[in-house]
Symmetry: C2
Subunit: 191 residues, 2 copies
């Protein structure tokens, strides 16, 4: 991402780089990663050349944004693990992600791979581990059924996020849908 040379970036270059990231964050959130590079350049107030100098490929730019967002989610999960009630932390995290999904297409696209292959396995893996920790905590205190494993929880998570974006869930519908999923995750008499 940052040039390999030891030399530090020039002041204007550093400023423009930040502007591009900010613009990309906003534009991708609103329109998804399919938004054109020109629109990002315009929003950032720079030329396209500048965007491509900092991020040689569109994939690089998208990856940078996705990684940043996933890392924020990961940190969020970490905080919940550290301080939250294990019985509710997983559900809280789940709810927060779905809330974000409605306004940030990037969240959904990051979770779903979304066509063009990005090579950002690390943050996704970190998120998966965080979910694993949340799940383990909830299971330890008996808030979630013991036979639920990480893959299906991730599947439910990404499915819920996708559906929230597609259907433009109202807060009410979101709550009702998540209530069903959460009930399914709780320990019960089945199976």
């Amino acid at each position: 991402m940052t040039p390999e040379t030891g030399r530090p970036l020039r002041a204007d270059a550093r400023r423009n780089r930040a502007r591009v990231l900010e613009a990309a964050e906003a534009v991708f959130s609103a329109k998804g990663a399919a938004a054109s590079t020109e629109e990002i350049a315009r929003t950032a107030g720079v030329g396209v050349g500048t965007v491509f100098r900092h991020f040689p490929t569109k994939k690089d730019l998208v990856s940078a944004i996705m990684t940043a967002r996933l890392e924020r989610l990961f940190a969020d999960a970490d905080a919940l693990i550290a301080e939250g009630d294990p019985a509710t932390a997983l559900f809280t995290f789940f709810t927060r992600m779905v809330e974000q999904a409605a306004s940030k297409k990037t969240v959904v696209e990051a979770l779903g791979g979304e066509g063009f292959e990005l090579d950002i396995p690390k943050p996704i893996e970190a998120l998966r581990q965080a979910v694993g920790a949340l799940l383990a905590g909830a299971q330890r205190v008996g808030a979630v059924r013991a036979d639920a494993a990480v893959p299906e929880v991730m599947a439910l998570l990404s499915g819920a996020c996708r559906a929230a974006l597609d259907a433009e869930w109202s807060p009410d519908l979101q709550a009702r849908t998540l209530a069903i999923v959460f009930d399914g995750l709780r320990p019960g008499r089945r199976r």
Copy 2:
């Protein structure tokens, strides 16, 4: 879709139209609606001009395919309502849709709107009503919680289909995920 003139289609035209539909079905299923019209023409063994004569707009072609698929799903649901056990019919339908989703991108895209706006409200509405009937039947015999309504069931359905496609679910993961959703839908002590 079909020309407004009273005159019937010429034999070769009818044949080509069918070929185009068949090719579009196959190509869209595999690559999604973003597949190029040229690829469909090539698969059908006709020129692009022929494709556009029968379906003046790409949207028209996509709509035709989506409508056909949704109508098949709708018929499937109808059959289950008529002959199936109300206690399991909804779950059976749900499972079938998710199975299809993995191999047919069009199913998922139809459910999710997927960017470019198609105007196919009728079949979607028919599907919604069929789901409503399945849900009502299951609720009548006590197989599904009474407080579940159509919107959240549709949301769960499209979310599950999307996740199945994105994550390339194994049969095992699919079963485990759906088991959780179904348990959430069953009557229980919550709320």
